[in-house]
């Protein structure tokens, strides 16, 4: 401890107490001086502002007097006042501070005034010689003073200062440079030409927007042909010129723009592509395709967009190559959009779609389509009768051989055209089986081997079936039902879709669907088996209601047969002759069975009974008008 104390005392400098006192006093004086100067400066500034404000209030009315003085309408007193004010203001302007304040007043007012008053204000500014002060500011070494001078001269529209300001356009100080560009473009129309000709520096986006705004606000402005600057050495000048070309729709620059598509600068490329698209320069398509690989993704998108608007069908091949190439998603997607735009509905994406046609084809591969399996959903009474007639002929589908194998003797003849008409009229058009059937009929029509205008329907392998009573025939057709149309759909579905399908079956299904639903009761999925059970009940309920209605109708028919014994004979005669064309039953009988709609139709068209009641004859065509009027 003693040693340390000794060390410190030996190292520490020996300062006298008096010296320390002197030092403290000096610091205190400096501090006071600093505080004093700060307060003085602040109060001086505040005072200056107050004085300026007072001076401005004083100058405001004088300026107003000058602005609104009209020598023609002024009275003598007004004229005297005006002269006095002139003298007063000349005296004031001898003071530099007053000149500064007056310039500020005029500049401020110029921002709030327009029209003739503004012009008077500009004139007053020059008359008072305040522009000379602003020009003097341009000679200052301080950048902010120069900037103030430029702003003042621009604001007060001192066009004489144009040449003096131009020397700052390529100056080293950024703020002055930008201010001078705005000034020369504002002051004279040719200012933009001078700027584009001479500028060597970068033109910022803000500057471009500002210059565009100034040009837009110019009255009666006739823009120069900006294509002259499209090949400037300054890339920013090229870009700005391109934007100006686009803004002023100068389509005379098309060939230059097409060349600029190949510019190495991607920004210029992009604006050039936009111009090409906007001016509809079709000849640029090849250039667009050539630069595609060397472009950025943003440019690629613009190229595709341009091709979409300019392109033709032959450009689709190029777009297809893009779609198949290794590109980012946005580019590929854009290419697809363009393809679909050029050739609508031509390029369909199938990856995300379920191929249900494959399911149907698979099914039909196992079992060739038999045209006699066509099921017809009755829509009117006439159709119902017609359908039942067809069903009678096709009751045992399992035993039906393929048409080519049918023996000549077992055939019932129909004309092909009539059959097509019947099927197309009666069957839903979107039913695949019906379409297949119609196709089949068409081929038969064209095949020379077959007898012309003849299609062969197998009534039955055994003649006994053909001799059955109508009731028996109908019953037989119920015993051997074809597969439900829902089955093929059901096979290609997931569980959720299967449940939805079962709902639909419940709403629409008949005997065929009932059989199909019964087969689902033992499905491995519990949900489906439960659903199948509930759907089974729904279908059974509906079928029982239909059966009741059928029974009522049968009773009514039997009563009619009892009344008219000719009917039974007619039906028997018809079904015993297997090669006979189905013939119409007697009008006298059918008259009592005809549907109400037909009665109305008969009344309307005043047809004979033979024409109207021949609905058991297959050789007829149901007109479209009939269905329009009666079946909707």
């Amino acid at each position: 401890m003693i040693i340390l104390n000794h060390i410190f005392t030996s190292i520490a400098p020996k300062i006298g107490v008096n010296f320390l006192w002197v030092l403290a006093i000096v610091f205190a004086i400096v501090a006071l001086l600093y505080i004093g100067i700060t307060f003085y400066a602040k109060s001086n500034i505040t005072l200056g502002v107050k004085r300026n404000k007072i001076k401005k209030r004083e100058l405001g009315p004088i300026v107003s007097e000058f602005l609104f003085f009209d020598e023609k309408t002024a009275s003598l007193e007004d004229k005297n006042n005006y002269v006095c004010l002139k003298i007063k203001i000349r005296q004031m302007l001898k003071n530099k501070r007053n000149r500064k304040i007056l310039a500020e007043v005029l500049v401020e007012l110029s921002q709030d005034l327009s029209g003739e008053t503004l012009k008077s204000l500009h004139k007053l500014y020059k008359d008072l010689g305040l522009d000379n002060d602003a020009l003097e500011k341009l000679k200052s070494w301080r950048w902010h003073t120069i900037s103030q001078g430029i702003v003042e001269l621009t604001q007060m529209k001192v066009t004489d200062s144009y040449n003096k300001i131009t020397k700052f356009v390529n100056g080293s100080r950024g703020v002055i440079r930008k201010q001078s560009v705005i000034a020369i473009v504002s002051l004279k129309d040719e200012g933009i030409n001078y700027f584009l000709d001479t500028t060597q520096h970068k033109i910022s986006e803000w500057q471009q927007l500002k210059l565009l705004e100034i040009l837009q606000n110019k009255k009666n402005y006739n823009p120069p042909s900006f294509k002259n600057w499209l090949f400037s050495k300054n890339v920013d000048t090229v870009l700005f010129a391109l934007r100006l070309v686009k803004h002023y729709d100068q389509s005379d620059a098309n060939s230059s723009i097409v060349q600029l598509i190949r510019h190495k600068n991607s920004q210029i490329r992009q604006v050039a592509i936009q111009c090409v698209s906007e001016f509809n320069v079709v000849e640029a398509r090849e250039s667009l395709k050539k630069i595609f690989n060397t472009s950025t993704n943003d440019t690629k998108l613009l190229i595709i967009e341009a091709l979409e608007s300019l392109g033709f069908a032959e450009d689709v091949q190029f777009l297809n190559t893009i779609e198949n190439r290794k590109e980012v998603f946005a580019v590929k997607n854009k290419a697809l959009v363009a393809i679909n735009s050029l050739l609508p509905e031509n390029h369909l994406e199938i990856e995300g779609l379920e191929d249900i046609s494959a399911v149907l084809i698979q099914k039909e591969d196992k079992k060739p389509l038999n045209p006699l399996e066509v099921t017809v959903t009755p829509r009117t009474e006439i159709e119902k009768d017609l359908t039942s007639a067809i069903d009678q002929l096709t009751d045992d589908t399992d035993n039906v051989p393929i048409v080519n194998d049918i023996a000549e003797t077992d055939l019932l003849t129909f004309t092909i055209d009539d059959t097509i008409d019947v099927v197309t009229e009666v069957a839903p058009i979107d039913d695949d089986k019906h379409l297949e059937f119609i196709k089949f009929l068409e081929t038969k029509k064209e095949t020379p081997k077959e007898a012309p205008n003849t299609v062969y329907f197998n009534v039955s392998e055994s003649s006994s079936t053909s001799k059955k009573e109508p009731e028996n025939l109908i019953n037989n057709s119920k015993e051997a039902l074809p597969d439900s149309v829902f089955k093929s759909l059901y096979d290609g579905c997931d569980t959720e879709a299967k449940l939805i399908l079962l709902d639909e079956i419940g709403a629409l299904g008949d005997e065929k669907e009932l059989q199909f639903v019964l087969s689902l009761l033992n499905a491995p999925e519990i949900e489906i088996s439960k659903k199948a059970a509930s759907v089974k009940i729904i279908i059974e309920n509906r079928l029982s209601v239909i059966a009741e209605q059928d029974a009522l109708e049968e009773n009514a028919t039997s009563k009619l047969i009892n009344k008219n014994p000719n009917l039974q004979e007619e039906l028997n005669a018809r079904y015993t002759n297997t090669t006979k064309t189905i013939t119409p039953i007697k009008p006298t009988l059918v008259k009592e069975l005809k549907p109400l709609e037909l009665c109305f139709l008969e009344e309307e068209e005043e047809k004979t009974e033979e024409d109207v009641f021949g609905f058991f004859d297959i050789n007829f065509i149901l007109s479209e008008e009939f269905y329009k009027d009666n079946c909707n």
Binding site: K56, R57, G60, P61, V63, S64, E65, L67, F68, V105, E108, L109, Q111, D112, L113, S114, G115, E116, T117, L118
Partner: protein, 124 residues
């Protein structure tokens, strides 16, 4: 009879200039520079027309219209002065019950025409 106008404008130079021009055209013009002064003025006086800047300290032009129409329950004609590009405020002003509007920069001859027209349309 001379019409009395209230000019509510916080820019003293502009208000001075407009006052000069309106006075020269035969109107009596009272100038206030903020919303507080407007309220105080309207308690004691009833001008024939109010010309108000839409942006003012303490009370905006919209609030002034609301005050005149709903608080004072007066149909006093009001002309609004708004900056260019302030269309939304102008629409609001019209919805609140402004009679006319003028955009800055102001043309004093245009103001005179609008004042005369609004005063002419006022029901006696």
């Amino acid at each position: 009879m001379e019409k009395r106008l209230l000019l509510a404008e916080d820019d003293e130079l502009l208000s001075s200039l407009l006052k000069y021009r309106l006075t020269k055209s035969g109107y009596i013009v009272d100038v206030v520079i903020n919303g507080k002064q407007v309220k105080e003025y309207l308690v004691e006086n009833t001008p024939d027309l109010i010309i108000s800047d839409i942006m003012m300290p303490y009370m905006s032009g919209i609030e002034l219209i609301d005050y005149v129409r709903n608080t004072l329950n007066s149909s006093l004609p009001i002309i609004i002065i708004s900056s260019a590009g302030n269309e939304e405020n102008v629409l609001n002003a019209f919805e609140m019950g402004a009679n006319d509007f003028l955009s800055k920069p102001v043309s004093p001859p245009e103001l005179l025409i609008r004042v005369a027209r609004v005063l002419k349309n006022v029901p006696v």
